[in-house]
């Protein structure tokens, strides 16, 4: 394998692989137009396997600082009652993950307006409409709220939720996500760290499934019954959790879903996704992406090693060349996915191995191209290369 590692042709062929990759990237077209696998896996990320198959963060304990209150089928008067009751227990913040789309009845609507406009510790969710890159908040009551945030996640429509945009800016208006707005009130120092990261989007580091958050029934609160859970100083999130496991109301796909590809049912309520984001901000437990230069350095080194192996068999044992090349590609793919997942699983680092995969896949074809050019250069200018005496 290392016989040809430092040969000029190995290095030049490797460089040619990246030149070809660069040229392909320049073509401004979607080359996956008729690729059913690519179309089917549009919303697929290998890193999802870390959650769904390998139980990433499975050891995480129950989050006792965030309490989810299920509003169930409470009407607006009921929701107002739950918020009032909770506010009296002095929590750090109350996040109301409910969209009020229209005026309903004067009395309860007035109660809610009074609650949202009277405290900066009650954060109301709203819907951020995004059409043709123009953003606009919509709904009812949110203009009255002192603290508010959009409940939108970032992802393919109906796809897995893997990202959040903490802050969006559009035409001079700044919009804050619901989770970020809640974190700003409850964990101002950690919120500043989030802002300091200055990332347009953050990859979600799901640390807990729904059953690892404390959940209280809103009816209990409304009835004034004592619960074993203390609300003082806690982050309270009001949201809807259906008693029916097959309900899809405010349910979304997450990487926890056991079925990563194909038809399945959503697995997590929006309020728990917000809870995961808040806990990620609070614990400064972000997923960090490897720098671009590292991705390309890894791709270059691995492509170089593969090229050396491919040239060895191309020149010396051509009969076995294709078989070895295919085996090497498959083994490498399995190994690199393992390593990529390992970094994600253990250290929350996401490495983009796409350049590495593409380089190794292209290496075989580029090698034939390089051989043809070498032969032509030899005939025309007498330039010697490894391929001149190759018999195949």
């Amino acid at each position: 394998m290392f016989k040809y590692l430092f040969k000029r042709d190995t290095i030049l062929a490797t460089i040619m692989v990246f030149i070809v990759m660069g040229l392909l990237a320049l073509i401004p077209i979607n080359t996956h137009v008729l690729d059913p696998i690519k179309m089917a896996l549009q919303d697929f990320d290998y890193n999802d396997l870390a959650y769904s198959q390998f139980d990433k963060n499975g050891h995480t304990s129950v989050d006792t600082n965030i309490v989810v209150v299920n509003i169930g089928n409470a009407d607006r008067a009921g929701i107002a009652g739950i918020i009032s009751e909770l506010a009296s227990k002095k929590p750090a913040v109350i996040g109301v993950d409910v969209l009020f789309n229209e005026a309903k009845a004067a009395a309860p609507d007035s109660l809610l307006v009074q609650l949202f406009s009277g405290s900066d510790k009650i954060v109301l969710a709203y819907h951020l409409q995004a059409e043709k890159r123009v953003l606009a908040a919509s709904g009812f009551l949110w203009p009255n709220a002192m603290a508010r945030g959009y409940a939108n996640f970032v992802g393919e429509e109906g796809g897995s939720i893997r990202h959040t945009a903490p802050i969006m800016k559009n035409k001079g208006t700044v919009y804050q996500s619901f989770a970020a707005a809640v974190a700003q009130v409850a964990y101002p120092v950690e919120y500043k760290k989030l802002v300091y990261r200055n990332n347009r989007t953050e990859q979600l580091n799901y640390t807990r499934t729904a059953n690892k958050f404390l959940v209280v029934d809103g009816k209990e609160i409304l009835a004034g019954r004592e619960t074993s859970i203390s609300f003082t100083g806690k982050t309270i999130l009001l949201g809807y959790i259906s008693p029916d496991p097959n309900s899809i109301e405010d349910k979304h796909f997450t990487p926890f879903n056991k079925k990563s590809v194909g038809k399945t049912v959503p697995d997590m309520e929006g309020v728990f996704i917000h809870a995961n984001i808040i806990s990620m901000i609070r614990d400064h437990d972000y997923v960090n992406k490897s720098p671009v230069w590292i991705n390309w350095l890894v791709a270059s080194v691995l492509c170089w090693l593969h090229m050396s192996l491919f040239i060895r068999f191309f020149v010396d044992k051509h009969l076995w060349f294709h078989l070895v090349a295919k085996i090497a590609q498959v083994v490498s793919a399995v190994l690199f996915v393992y390593l990529g997942l390992l970094f994600y699983f253990k250290w929350d680092v996401k490495i983009n191995l796409t350049p590495t995969f593409v380089a190794i896949i292209l290496a075989v074809d580029v090698l034939y191209f390089y051989e043809a050019i070498s032969t032509w250069l030899h005939k025309r200018f007498g330039i010697h290369s490894l391929f001149i005496h190759a018999h195949h």
Binding site: L99, N152, F153, G155, I273
Partner: protein
């Protein structure tokens, strides 16, 4: 029998040569005529190859082709229908459709959510309460009605909204339906015209039937209605005429006798125009900024 058979065959023969309509009007807006007709084009009108369309300034026309394609005209001018037919045919070719699809896909590379978040924000992580497709100035979940004027100011996200009355809270066919004109309040009198006393449900919905939760509507008979109203008004203590009128209006409003409350609000404002509470309460019936 022979004669009947001959006539029948002749009819079939000539029917084979009868011209099929080239288009059916799906939507028209503004001043649009076809030659030989003084009437404006309206939904459902048929257009034939010999016709010439005349579109006025600011008008818009949607036509359904015989192959169910839709073409749109929005520029002022004259359009021979014969030439428009070609526009339908262009899209029907399997080959052209296929390559059009490939071209569209090729030239629209798929983006990445993390790089263009504003294009990937359709998933909303919150439960919705209330409808965001229809809005009414007044909170009218329940209406008790017998007669009288009750304008309901509305807004709807639908292109062609209709108001419909049903006998059931969900599903079922509408027993009454009226098309709503943009920026014109829905007149309840018109909606419930000829309906016999009973319990109904109504809603503003799209042409296809999509809509929000239905609202409760009880149509009373005269005797019961007057009795119920009188019973409510019996609770109102006598005060100044304006205050008494307002108290009556408020009580009726709270009990959802809206058509009955409106004249009392008007009377209260008339008797004491300087009272801002009276004016605010009356203005709610005509509020348009919602």
């Amino acid at each position: 029998m022979k004669l009947f058979f001959s006539i029948l065959m002749t009819c079939f023969f000539f029917s084979a040569f009868a011209a099929d309509p080239s288009f059916v009007v799906y939507h028209s807006q503004g001043r649009i005529n076809k030659t030989g007709s003084k009437n404006m084009l309206k939904k459902g009108d048929q257009l034939f190859a010999k016709d010439l369309l005349v579109l006025g300034e600011g008008s818009k026309l949607l036509l359904i082709c015989s192959n169910y394609q839709i073409i749109q005209l929005s520029k002022k001018g004259n359009y021979p229908v014969k030439k428009l037919v070609a526009q339908c045919k262009q899209a029907t070719s399997y080959s052209s459709s296929y390559f059009k699809y490939v071209w569209n896909e090729l030239t629209h590379p798929h983006g990445k959510p993390e790089q263009e978040p504003e294009s990937y924000m359709k998933n909303v992580g919150a439960v919705s309460r209330g409808c965001n497709e229809v809005a009414l100035a007044m909170q009218v979940d329940t209406i008790h009605y017998y007669s009288g004027t009750l304008p309901l100011v509305w807004w709807a996200a639908y292109e062609k909204p209709v108001a419909a009355v049903f006998e059931q809270a969900m599903d079922g066919e509408a027993v009454q339906k009226i098309t709503l004109a943009a920026k014109e309040p829905l007149q309840l009198t018109q909606l419930v015209k000829d309906l016999s006393p009973g319990t109904y449900y109504w809603q503003i919905m799209g042409e296809q039937g999509s809509g929000c939760e239905r609202k409760y509507l009880k149509i009373w008979n005269k005797a019961s209605y007057l009795k119920a109203v009188q019973a409510l008004l019996g609770f109102v203590p006598e005060s100044s005429p304006a205050e008494t009128a307002y108290a009556k209006a408020f009580l009726l409003h709270e009990h959802h006798f809206l058509a009955e409350a409106l004249p009392y609000y008007k009377l209260a404002v008339k008797l004491n125009p300087g009272n801002s509470i009276y004016r605010t309460s009356l203005n709610k019936f005509y509020e348009t900024n919602f």
